[in-house]
Subunit: 353 residues, 2 copies
Amino acid sequence: MAEPQQIIFSNDIAGSLARIVSEMRPSSVVVVTDDEVKSLVLPRLGLPADWTVCSFAPGDLNKNLESLAAVWGQMEEAGATRHSTVVNIGGGVVTDLGGFAAATFKRGVRFVNVPTTLLAAVDAAVGGKTGVNFNEYKNEIGAFAPADAVVISSATFGTLPAREILSGYAEMVKHGLLDSAEAYRALIAEDPLKLSDERMLELLEYNVGVKERVVTADPFERGIRRALNLGHTPGHAFESLALHRGRPVPHGFAVGWGLLVDMILSHMELGFSSDYFYPYRDFLRENGYGTPDITCDDYDTIVDLMRHDKKNASPDAINFTLLRAPGDVCIDCIVTADKIKAALDIFRDLTEA
Amino acid sequence: MAEPQQIIFSNDIAGSLARIVSEMRPSSVVVVTDDEVKSLVLPRLGLPADWTVCSFAPGDLNKNLESLAAVWGQMEEAGATRHSTVVNIGGGVVTDLGGFAAATFKRGVRFVNVPTTLLAAVDAAVGGKTGVNFNEYKNEIGAFAPADAVVISSATFGTLPAREILSGYAEMVKHGLLDSAEAYRALIAEDPLKLSDERMLELLEYNVGVKERVVTADPFERGIRRALNLGHTPGHAFESLALHRGRPVPHGFAVGWGLLVDMILSHMELGFSSDYFYPYRDFLRENGYGTPDITCDDYDTIVDLMRHDKKNASPDAINFTLLRAPGDVCIDCIVTADKIKAALDIFRDLTEA
């Protein structure tokens, strides 16, 4: 845990991987991925033929104990030892599940993350949070286990559907909000779907840098790391609600909506200026983030889902990360159910108007 | 991982627990145990009524993913949060599985181990190895996660069957062998089944001390901690073989037999004096450790099981911890299949004569 995570920004994925992995002198290399990345992305990377590929069905609905057990079984069949290296190639579902599989196989083998989606690059792949969903709760089971190395690249983003880019971009806006008003304004002034590869890699270095500084200061999330939860208390609730309904939504869309809810709560609780959330509402609308499709009949369920969030010290206290202003973070803000419901009213007024 | 593990030697279990747990100021307390300890031991301890009890079916055959998932589910139902404390009360199966459950529930909650068997007290409960069996391989899935505190007591040993005492005592002899010829000779001169509570607690403090020193020097088992694997490469193979046959044997019996195999290999490879193993053979025989019930037809299976041991860098190299003399340890000794089979011949001659 104490060893620093090596982060490489490069569009030569195979070359970077070859160098990193050979330095580890592993007894064998096991790639963990999902079936979709396996058929669409892996053939284009040109990985060594003696790396065994383990895969599971794609999607957050499959980030569960069954897929995890299947991956452990495939690692076992591949003859992986404690001295093997695992290379997780895919989106956040793959780096979360593959990271946890590696962290627990024979009590832990080394692993490298290669995020293939924007969201995974700015969120899941860096920072050591691994895990799976359990009984419909998100990331209920997992470990703090940073990858030994992460290869960040925009080379695989070209074929991503628009919603994947938007999903990742919401996390980038979050990092902007945590950093400064300027960074926030610059990010929502861009058109996420029309960025050049070069501009994207620039933004990634900045963005991953913001996250890295916070994580290094607090690897086990005992304090300031909870800043990264901005947008996530409502975001996870929206995401869980969608999962319960059998119509999952991209994590980043849920966070995108959650950021607006948290800006509203920040306004209500800490005087965060409402000037900031109108341009963001417009940003969400103009770029096609849609809405979570809720009515006031869903409020109790949403509040209940928030109660189950890992950040809460007890089921009676619902804990938020809020802002006094961009760059001025307040962690551990306890908000009452009534205030949350009032914020959801305002959120719906803004997004459905 | 870096925080030192607090070890308390006391026969006042409830009092020690109350003090340790209250210092942690948990949001709630969850006891993890097995159904047997729940009905036989827990009522006698007098634990606070507001501690929720989660339990699973006893025995190593139930140290699996299904029991683990059941415990996670019970913790969830009990409303456990990241700020709860888990108290594992039971033998090694309970501290291994409960420790892993705690280390991975919401990415890790604090936990305390209360070993109720001699084996768990000298082996599983201290040192941070947690996990479950998977696909019939022992401890295939797990994590290095030390308990925040361990309460070592002989107060629960009175009702243990003789084989449980013998099982733990074999690990104590291992610690003696790792320490010095004097410690080794003193341990095998005792009658394990006739020790007073006081003498047992004395021996425990000494024994847990040996283990603690080794673990502190190498928490992740990258080097000298492998000294503790003395007896375990053959021991785990005997244990797995018995599991495959559907007739599980106590871990400590398998280790007891394994220590003799490793003494024989130490003699063959490193000139360890054969004078040491005759008294030990007699110790095993006089105290009723029995034999693993193998023939030369089992040798290939045993060697295959050894190949799967986590300690091996590759399936072709079988790795042992051996001794030049008591207290003079040699880790990472690679032994060929032929030598292993020759040692098993001598082992059978000694134990079956």
